[in-house]
Amino acid sequence: MEKHTDVICPFCGTLCDDIEVHVEKGRVMEALNACKLGNAKFMSMNKKHRHLVPMVREGDGFVETTIEDAVERVARMLLDAKRPLLYGWATTECEAQSVGIELAEEVGGVVDSCASVCHGPSVLAIQDVGFPSVTLGEVKNRADLDIYWGSNPMHAHPRHMSRYSRYPRGYFRERGQQDRTVIVIDVRRTDTAGIADKFLQVSPGDDYELVNAFRTLLNDGDIPDEVAGVAKKDIEGALELMKTCQFGMLFFGVGLTMSPGKHRNIDNAISLVIDLNKYTKFSLMPMRGHYNVTGFSEVLTWQSGFPFGVDYTRGYPQYNPGETTSVELLSRGEVDAVFVVGSDPAANFPKKAVEHLAKIPSAVIEPHETPTTYLCDLKIPSAIAGIEVAGTAYRMDNVPIRVRKIMDPPAGLYSDREILKMILEKVREIKNGA
């Protein structure tokens, strides 16, 4: 039996790096320390559910093809299109993302990640007002107040609280849980709310008003007896905790970014945190979902200057969210081919966008069967990054960690990076030939 220690879990943005995986004869026997989500990802390596050869649509079904043929089809699809969309990237390593960006630039397409439908509004808000944040170790060593707003880590990031916020002992928080207070703000009493010291139930869609209430009180204004379904005394009580803590932290999830108000909610929340810094040390952090969605925005930003939704049609990077982002491009029918890597837009894009996706030529690199693989014209299976391929991933606090390879992929499967390199070479070959 092989014992792999210090393995990084390639599931969520918490990027736990203390997993111990036991592998025997190509089977994962155990994934110690992993949460139920991470454990499921590691154990799923044993299931026979992956497709192993590239398949191309023919009539109503798919037929098998070779990797060479599949690569050439993708290359030609991207070159034939006037404005192709290269979408996804959150569940692969930075080295593959980097090749993907180069490919988008080479074919003059749009490159976008699922931040577009997740924490994109957070980015817009950051670009408006800034982003006072810290790394997760700072929270562990210093924080005496943690707020989770529109985020339910008990289910979405199960080890977040045990590793960084509610439970661990830190340098200045030697007693762990006893030294810390947790506030949960959500539209329903989540399981996370169950372990909080204080729970504020905000009425759905009214998060902005609640942030405003905090800011109004903080800046010496007055508020009605109830705002956004929360009683004034509860708002005052929570605010008092915020002002008097030594080190406060606001973690926010898609409950805040994707509810009405979107980036304005975050804009306001960041402004609240900036205001609080007049009283004490206060920071915030988005609870990023996929394990390397952060990495994509890092790579794209240092290479192009912009974090998502970058349009290379004119030969230089252009960024205008709403115009150059996937949902809008698809819904308006402004792209004429889609290449998906490491994501599943058919499962979570609006209907209109998915309808257009189904109409135009499309290809996907994806280890599993997903709604997107059913809709597309060509599917190329790949090795699973973080388990069968090593590379870089960025945690939700932008800390870069190298994910490990603990087993070989099934025979004949290439990594996302290798497949993308083959496509890029083929694109250049075709361009030079013509």
Binding site: E105, G130, F131, W302, F306, G315, P317, V399, P400
Partner: protein
């Protein structure tokens, strides 16, 4: 491959070549005495020839650099660089994207760039990004200003383990230099506080900024590192901070070094030469700092020129960035890093019409003109903090031309600059040799890399910049615009003997080297120190020790500088 650069007018201060007409010969990437086979010839008659430029302090790549780009799409949209000649596209005025930064430096004749503030926990990011900066050789300086291990060993008065621990961090982060940013202040910023003087307490660690600076300066010499400590002192950017600066530099007086270089490198000196006690009576104290540096041998500084642009400030000095944000109320990013440091970012608009900014502009030039030996005052804007590095040609022209400076003083900037500084009284004009010193030779010497970099003698790297400036015909004092234009783009930039720029256009973009220092201390000591590190890591870091060091995969052309420091035990 062999290359001959014929008949150029050469300025090579480290070899005392001062405008001589001579040929430079390159074989296998190195400068040689003789060529044997057939070789390419570049006719450099009537052209200015210098060693490749060396950038000693520029925030062109790393974690906060990318955060700065993300923060400011308006800066990206301001200048775009389309894809052409098989090169990569990019964007950014004050903060160019990675490929573009490499191209722009090479076009100005630079062949080595060092990124000066790498939080160790983000070292992997820095090296990933450095891999996307083409052409130039590179290195990164890991920050130690709020390092918990360092403070713990200082408090326990264990200089041996302290040295071993610093060596370990350099190895783990693949860093070259000990960098200190607002020592102790960044740790206090964890509680929203700061440390403005060298005797202020560091909360929870029972040490002072002065002890951190002195302790690490001593460690630096025990580990025989090529460069000295690279210091951004406390109290940056505050009126009256000259006192803190001088007190800080005094700490280096007693540090013995047998390297023949400074014991303290003071970076962006402009931001540390302020007089007055408020913005109302703010004035330059460049004369005081220059007097100090002229009278001692243990300090080298760079200017940190302000170029009067809209820019994106970014430092590891978190409390300073918050202070700046409260002045301007522009957007603000903070990025405290556990057990290490605290970077921050905020945009800043330097205005010609603002008296304080105008005095700051004057201070950078005053320092360069008042410090006698150009090897002690190097040219840098602390890119992008004082302004983008693409402004270097203009600064060169200012330094070479009193009329150009006078034009700015009298017609372009706020009158306050005449009252608040001595610039109007300075008539010194830099020579081409002085320019070669403050843009390459001095940097190479201060970094301790002058065997390979910053000169054109036999054994140096074949890194050469050829400018379309004819030193025997031009009068820089009056033709300042021609000087500015001439230094903006080379006719040729040669990197390791390969032509990378021709007529100002990039023609090749090879991967450069990444230098890092590996001082090897006594094995037993190393083991003892690592026991402490392991224990601390488990308890306080948020990553496991096994996942912390930067793997070899991240340095495509890593160059280890191994140093025998086994006498540290």
């Amino acid at each position: 491959m062999e290359l001959e650069i014929k008949n150029g007018t050469v300025y090579d201060p480290l070899n005392k070549v001062n405008g001589d007409r001579m040929d430079i010969l390159i074989k296998d990437g190195m400068i040689v005495k003789k060529l044997h086979g057939k070789h390419e010839v570049i006719d450099a008659s009537g052209k200015l020839v210098m060693p490749g430029g060396v950038e000693i302090h520029s925030h062109f790549a790393g974690g906060k650099e990318t955060a700065g780009r993300l923060l400011r799409p308006e800066d990206g949209a301001r200048t775009v660089y389309p894809k052409r000649n098989g090169l990569r596209s990019g964007s950014g005025y004050s903060m160019p994207s990675s490929f573009t930064a490499g191209y722009l430096y090479a076009q100005m004749g630079y062949t080595m760039c060092n990124t000066p503030a790498m939080p160790p926990l983000f070292a992997r990011h820095t090296h990933e990004e450095l891999g996307d900066v083409p052409i130039v050789d590179k290195s990164a300086y890991p920050t130690f200003d709020g390092n918990w291990f360092v403070m713990r060993y200082l408090k326990e008065d264990d200089p041996d383990k302290l040295a071993a621990c610093v060596a370990w961090f350099l190895r783990a982060t693949k860093g070259l230099v000990i960098k200190l940013v607002n020592p102790g202040g960044t740790e206090n910023w964890g509680w929203g506080k700061n440390a403005v003087g060298i005797d202020d307490p560091v909360i929870g660690f029972d040490v002072t900024p002065g002890e951190i600076i002195k302790g690490l300066a001593e460690v630096n010499e025990r580990l025989k590192l090529p460069h000295s400590i690279h210091l951004h002192p406390n109290n940056l950017g505050k009126p009256g901070n000259i006192e803190t600066t001088i007190e800080t530099l005094d700490l280096g007086k007693s540090i013995k070094t047998d390297k023949g270089r400074q014991s303290i490198y003071l970076t962006h000196a402009q931001f540390h030469s302020f007089g007055g006690d408020s913005w109302k009576n703010f004035e330059s104290k460049a004369d005081e700092l220059a007097k100090y540096i002229n009278s001692c041998d243990h300090v080298v500084c760079d200017t940190g020129n302000v170029t009067l642009d809209e820019t994106t400030t970014m430092t590891s000095d978190g409390p300073m960035e918050y202070f700046l944000h409260n002045l301007t109320h522009l957007k603000w990013v903070n990025k405290d890093v556990e057990l290490e440091t605290a970077p921050g970012i905020t945009p800043f608009i330097y205005s010609r019409k603002n008296p304080v900014h105008s005095v700051q502009w004057a201070i950078g030039l005053e320092l360069a003109l008042l410090i006698d030996d150009p090897f002690k005052v190097l040219l840098a804007t602390d890119h992008p903090n004082g302004g983008p590095f693409t402004r270097y040609p203009r600064i060169i022209a200012w330094l070479m031309s009193e009329p150009y400076r006078r034009y700015y003083l009298e017609e372009r900037v706020h009158k306050g600059a005449q009252k608040g500084s001595s610039l109007a009284t300075l008539d010194r004009e830099y020579t081409f040799s002085d320019i070669a010193t403050v843009t390459r030779a001095g940097q190479a010497k201060a970094l301790g890399l002058s065997e390979l970099k910053g000169h054109l003698g036999v054994g140096a790297h074949g890194d050469v910049a050829i400018y379309d400036i004819n030193p025997s015909e031009i009068d820089p004092s009056n033709d300042f615009k021609a000087v500015e234009k001439g230094f903006a783009k080379t006719v040729y930039t040669i990197k390791d003997g390969e032509i990378v720029v021709r007529d100002g256009e990039i023609v090749a973009a090879p991967q450069g080297r990444t230098y890092w220092a590996n001082p090897v201390v006594d094995h037993e000591l190393d083991r003892e120190m690592l026991k402490d590190v392991e224990q601390y890591f488990k308890k306080y870091y948020s990553v496991n020790l096994a996942n912390y060091p930067v793997q070899k995969e991240y340095l495509e052309r890593g160059r280890e500088i191994q140093i025998d420091a086994r006498d540290v035990k």
